[in-house]
């Protein structure tokens, strides 16, 4: 019974955090893209547009939810449901941090640990294709159909290099449980799979990242919804919350890929260098630096309002930094900080690339995976296998 209640609480916390992250990831994306393109981005709703996600949610819920008359109704309704469910489920096996003790209870910062956790994520993500493919087909619209076809062909093709890139770090850690994969990489950065002796997985890290981009249908691989060719691709006929479901699925998939990259290659919640060298003070230092910069700018304000807002922000940052020095909270917060920092960096990379690279042509997309990525991943697996067997 205790386990049951604990699981429900953990699931609720993870669900709330995940959905908030989804909403704000979109805000971050709009802001970052805007600054890359020398614009301001969302600015009207709340300070610096911070309430924009809330406004978007209200807009999407209250919009007219129409079902076109020419669609296959059952599959048309099933597709967004399938897409968003499959995208959200994989978070259940992701480990966010080490063991924690709260109010006398000891638990892991992870919903559940499967001994085939990695395969579970792969299985769920391979089921996610149906959402897009069926949406394209059931809409009974040529643009949607083309988008669905493109995306299913693309996802099948990129799943091969993705799986091969996953296989080589597994040879180093010798387990399929995500928690044990992270535990095997404990210590400093040289123990992470990306740099781990005897077979550093730098190549498979990049293959995984590229294939992951393609699996989530993000720029430069977003041919399924190439707006200048296909209107909006597979979700052309969807409106209101059904459109939002596809949107959420895309961002949830981004988060999953970022988490998997972190766990497989970047050591999950393990710190950059060992706590003996003071890695426990890094989060406090980062927050303190941010707070001091904000306070400094508050004393030399560029605008009138900055005189108040910036020092307040600075004090909040300093308090957050102080929380990381508070010993009882450290065990929970510091692994979480490292995990969030790594995932955040990869998500930023996603957005950065979206603001930088143009879209592939379709034949380039297919040639790239079959003639470049696949052989590289295969060769890397072979070399890793040899090195692991010989050492």
């Amino acid at each position: 019974m205790e386990f049951f209640i604990l699981s429900i609480i953990k699931a609720a916390v993870v669900a709330i955090v995940l959905l908030t992250t989804l909403a704000y990831l979109q805000w971050v994306e709009r802001k970052v893209i805007a600054h890359i393109q020398v614009r301001m981005g969302p600015y009207r709703v709340g300070p610096h547009g911070l309430l924009q996600p809330l406004a978007d949610v209200i807009k999407l819920i209250t919009k007219e939810d129409l079902i076109p008359p020419h669609v296959n109704k059952f599959l048309y309704l099933l597709a967004p449901f399938l897409a968003v469910t499959m995208a959200l489920i994989s978070i259940s096996v992701i480990p966010f941090g080490a063991q924690i003790h709260v109010f006398g209870y000891t638990t892991w910062m992870q919903l559940t640990d499967l001994n085939v956790g990695l395969l579970f994520v792969l299985a769920i993500s391979s089921m996610g294709v149906y959402g897009i493919a069926l949406a394209g087909w059931a809409s009974n619209n040529k643009y949607s159909l083309l988008g669905g076809l493109r995306s299913s062909a693309q996802m099948i093709s990129y799943e091969l290099p993705l799986s091969l890139a996953i296989a080589s770090p597994l040879l180093l850690v010798n387990t399929l449980s995500l928690r044990e994969i992270v535990q095997a990489q404990s210590g400093s950065i040289i123990h992470w799979n990306i740099l781990r002796w005897p077979a550093p997985q730098i190549v498979s890290f990049f293959v995984f990242l590229i294939a992951g981009f393609a699996e989530t249908n993000r720029v430069p691989f977003d041919l399924a919804e190439a707006e200048n060719e296909l209107v909006a691709g597979f979700h052309t006929e969807y409106s209101s919350m059904k459109f939002a479901a596809f949107f959420m699925a895309e961002y949830a998939n981004m988060i999953t890929v970022a988490c998997m990259t972190t766990i497989l290659f970047l050591g999950g919640w393990q710190p950059l260098f060992s706590p003996a060298w003071g890695s426990n003070y890094v989060p406090a230092l980062i927050f303190a630096a941010g707070g001091l910069v904000a306070i400094y700018h508050g004393f030399n304000p560029a605008r009138k309002l900055d005189r108040i807002t910036l020092p307040v922000t600075g004090v909040v940052f300093l308090l957050a930094g102080a929380l990381f020095l508070f010993t009882p909270a450290q065990a929970a917060l510091i692994p979480l900080f490292w995990f969030a920092a790594k995932v955040g960096l990869i998500l930023f990379l996603y957005i950065w690339i979206r603001g930088t690279l143009p879209r592939f042509r379709y034949d380039q997309l297919m040639q790239f995976t079959w003639k470049v990525l696949f052989p590289i991943a295969l060769a890397n697996l072979l070399v890793t296998g040899l090195v692991v067997a010989l050492s």
């Binding site: 085939v116 395969l119 089921m127 294709v129 149906y130 493919a133 069926l134 159909l145």
Partner: protein, 165 residues
């Protein structure tokens, strides 16, 4: 708990399997087949074969059935038209099916009288390590022969598909 889960997913599997045949549109049939694969995976999981369950979802539901759906979408296959069935088939079909199932059950019961009763979760050799070890020691020859067979199939597909040489 195990029995309840087994009943739920066994019923889903059977209903989906019947639906594969009953549906007139190829896409609906293919989606029903995905349902069969998924519920079979859950049944494997209940028996304690977690690696097999995940492989079932990844390979069958996730890769092969996506290809099926892809091809059906690409060929734009329409719903099949129902033709008039013969009177004899309509009259005798269902009773004959029941008789066949009953006979099959009877003979299986006679040939293997309670020889191996399956318990939920009693199977211990389902981890990835066990499967890998079995494949590369005990079943090495069938495993390698299968891989050669698949290689031949791939080359054959390329030769057939490649018109201009």
């Amino acid at each position: 708990m195990d029995v309840i889960l087994f009943l739920i997913f066994a019923i889903i599997a059977v209903v989906c399997a019947v639906n594969v045949v009953v549906q007139t549109h190829p896409i609906s049939s293919a989606i029903s087949l995905v349902g069969v694969m998924g519920s079979l995976a859950v049944l494997y999981l209940l028996l304690g074969a977690e690696f097999l369950a995940m492989a079932q979802v990844i390979v069958y539901a996730g890769a092969i059935m996506v290809l099926f759906v892809f091809v059906i979408m690409l060929l734009n296959a329409g719903a099949e038209s129902k033709r008039g069935r013969s009177f004899v088939a309509q009259l005798l079909g269902f009773p004959l099916l029941i008789t066949f199932l009953a006979l099959a059950a009877y003979f299986i019961q006679r040939l293997y009288p309670a020889s191996a009763i399956v318990h939920f979760g009693a199977f211990q050799g389902g981890t990835a390590q066990n499967i890998g070890r079995a494949l590369f020691t005990q079943y090495l020859l069938p495993f390698e022969v299968t891989s050669i067979l698949i290689l031949i199939a791939i080359i054959g597909a390329i030769v057939l598909a490649r018109k201009e040489l």
